[in-house]
Symmetry: C2
Subunit: 116 residues, 2 copies
Amino acid sequence: MSLELTPVQTVACCSPLTREPLSAPEAEGIAPLLKALADPVRLRLMSLVASHEGGEACVCDLNDAFELSQPTISHHLKLLHEVGLLDREKRGVWVYYRARTEALTNLAALIGGQAK
Amino acid sequence: MSLELTPVQTVACCSPLTREPLSAPEAEGIAPLLKALADPVRLRLMSLVASHEGGEACVCDLNDAFELSQPTISHHLKLLHEVGLLDREKRGVWVYYRARTEALTNLAALIGGQAK
DNA sequence: CCATGACATAGATAGGTGTGAATATTTACA
DNA sequence: TGTAAATATTCACACCTATCTATGTCATGG
C-alpha cells in the first residue's frame, strides 16, 4: 500500500480557498482534480455519468454522446478514474462508471465553501 | 460591447453537473474557468488573494510568496483575471487583485450543488 | 527631466495534453 | 475452439502551457 494519496483523498482535508492560504503541497494535491475536470469532454462525461439513472453509465452509452473515437473517450474516463472522480466496475463485457459525488461535494466545499 | 461571455458569466446559468447532462457549449464555457484554477500556483494565488485582509492583495505581496520570477506570477494573475476570477485595480504604482467570491460560489454550486 | 521601482509584455523553449489509427485484451456465445 | 463485440493500450503528432530572460511601460521622487 502506497503513501501516495489520490487527489480525491487530498481534497477532503483542507479549509476553503477563501479561508486561509493554501499550502504548496495542498495546492499540488488538489490541482490534478481540477485539471481532470478542466476539459469540456471530461466535464460532460462527469455530468453524463452523474446525472444518469442509477448514478452510473456504461462506456457504450458515453461513446455515443460524442463525436470522438472510442479510445479518446476511454482515455478521458481513465483520467477521471485515476484522480478518484469516477469508480469503475466491469460487468460482463461492459464497464460501468459511477460518479463519486462526495468527491464533487468536497471539491465544491473547498472552492466555494464559507465555513471552516 | 462583445457578445462573448467570460467563463465567469457562463457558469452562473447552468444547473449542477449531477442534475442533468451538461451541453457541449456549456461545458466549453465552463472548462476555461476550471482550467484557470487547475494549476498549483494559480490555486495558491487565488487562495492568497481571497484570504488576504480586505479580500485583496497587491502583486508585490504575491510575488514574495513564490520562488518564481515576477513575470511568471504576472502571467498567472492575468489568466485568472481574464476568466473573471480576479478583479484588477491599479492604485499608484501598485496593482491590487481582488477575488470574485461570487464566481467561486457559482462554480462550487455547479460542481457540488444538490439543488436546482 | 531623469532615475528608480512596480508591473506587464514579448520571445523562446522544454514538457505536457487531446486526439486518432492500429492493436491488444477480455468476455460471451455458437 | 473460434468469432464477434466492448473496452483498453500503444504510438505518433499537432498544439498548448509554464517558465525564464530580456525588455517595455508607467508612476513617483529627486
